[in-house]
Symmetry: C2
Subunit: 250 residues, 2 copies
Amino acid sequence: MVSAASTLTQTLPEKITERLATRIVDGTYPPGSRLIEATLSQEFGLSHGPIRDALRALQHAGLVTILPYRGAVVTDVTVREIKELYQVRAALVGLRARWIAEDPQRQELVAQVKEPIARMQQLAGRDRAEYTRVALMVNRTLTESVSNHWLRSTLASLMLQTSRYTRLALASPAHQRFSAKQWQYLLLAIESGAGAQAEKIAGALSQATRDEAIKFLEQAMESRTAGAQTADSHTADSRSVSRQAKKPAA
Amino acid sequence: MVSAASTLTQTLPEKITERLATRIVDGTYPPGSRLIEATLSQEFGLSHGPIRDALRALQHAGLVTILPYRGAVVTDVTVREIKELYQVRAALVGLRARWIAEDPQRQELVAQVKEPIARMQQLAGRDRAEYTRVALMVNRTLTESVSNHWLRSTLASLMLQTSRYTRLALASPAHQRFSAKQWQYLLLAIESGAGAQAEKIAGALSQATRDEAIKFLEQAMESRTAGAQTADSHTADSRSVSRQAKKPAA
DNA sequence: GAATAATTATTGATTATTAATAATCCTTGG
DNA sequence: CCAAGGATTATTAATAATCAATAATTATTC
C-alpha cells in the first residue's frame, strides 16, 4: 500500500518503492514504459532482490503491471478504468468526509487545514502549480487524519493512483475556482458536524474532478491517435509493450 | 490482492500465497504464529525467493505482519481494528449492492444466486458448516460480478480478512436465520433495481455480522485472559512474539 | 540478582548461475 | 516479395551459497 512518501521509511525496498512511485506519478516514467530490473539495480547500486520487492509493491499499488517473464510496465489505464477508479474514490472520499465530520475531535484538523483552504481561494486561477501542491497536501492531511486504518490505507492507495490524473483536472483555472469553492463548503460542513452534507460535497467534488480529468484525457487520446507517427514519446498503441518501447530515461 | 483461490493462478509465489492464505483464514496458523522462511521453503520444497514473495503478498493482503529482521507473523487484529475493518466493508458492500442493483444486466447474476439464497433459508439454523459455505460462496459470486475493477479488488481483499471473523458470527443459529432473511430481501431489492434500498440492506447486514462477530471475540478474549496459563494454543498476550511462540504445526 | 556481554536464530542483501519464456530477428522455400 | 517456422536474444524466475545485520535469548560476571 505504498505509504506515499509519508511515514519515514525503513527498509530498502520501501525506499526504492517510493522513489519509483514518485517517478511514475510525476510522469518521469510514462504509461507503458518498462521498468527493467537490471537497469534499476544498476542505477540504485543494488542487487536484484530489493528491486524485485519494490516492483511487486508497485504492482500491489496498481502503478505497475507485471507480466510473467516480461517484467514490470507502468500501467496504462484505459479511460473506462479511470472512471471506475474515480467512482470508488468518490465513494471513499465521501466516507472520509462524513467520518471526519462526525468525529468529536475534528476541530484539530479543521484548524490545521483552515489556512491552506483559504489560501486555495487566493491561488485558484492564478498559480496553477502552487494550487495543485496545496490541494494535494490538504487532501493528504485529511486522509492521514482518518483514524480508521483500513479506510486510510485504501484511500492512500487510490489517491496515489488518481493523483496522476487529478493533476490534469487541476490545470484548468475554471476547475480550480470550482474546487476551491467546494473545499470551503466542505470545511464548513465538517466544522459544523454535518456528516451527510460533507459526504455529498466531497463526493460531488471528486466526480467533478473526474469529469475534468476525463475531458483532458480524451483530448490527449485524440491528438495522440491523430498524429501517431510524429512524436516518439507516445506510440499510437501504447499498450503493445514491444522491446524497443520507451525505456525509462536512465 | 490475493485472488483467494479463484482465478487459476500462474506463478509459483501466487500459488504459495494462496495456500498460506487458506491456512491463515481457516485457523491452521492462528494469530501470532510465526511463518519462518526456512521452514516453509523446506515444506514446499522451494528456495527462499518465492516464499519471500508470498509473505510480502500476504502482508499486502493484511493477513501477515512483517517485522524487519524478525519475519512474518499472522496478524493479530485488535477488536477495535476489526470494528474498523467491518465499517469499511459495510460501506463497500453497500456500494456493491447498489451498483449491482443499478446494473441493467443484473438479472444474470440474480438467476445465478437465487437458488443458493433459497437454500440458505433451508440451512439456516440447521447445518452450520454448509450454511457458512454457501453464504461465503454467494458473497464471492457477488463480488466477482462487480464490473468495477477497483471495487472488486479492494472488496476481495477486505473479504479475505473479514472471513476469519464472519465465520464466528455465522456460527450462531439466530444470526444465520437473520442473515438468510436479509439476503432474501437484498435479492428482491436487487432484482427490482432498488439501488438505495439494496445498499441499505447490505450495509445493515454487514453491521449485524460485525456485531455478532465482536460478541464472540469479546467472549473469547475474556476466557483467554481468565485462564491464561492453562491451554498452550493461545497465550495471554499473543502480541509478544517471543521465540518459542506457537510455531506453525509442520 | 541485575547489568552486560556472548550466542543464536532468522531475516536482509549480494552474487553467480541456470532455467524458462516472450519477443524479435533471420532464414528459407514458395 | 513474403509468410511460416526456427534460431537468437533479452529478460525474468528460481536456486544456491554466502555474509551482514539485528532481535531475542542465554550465559557471565560482579
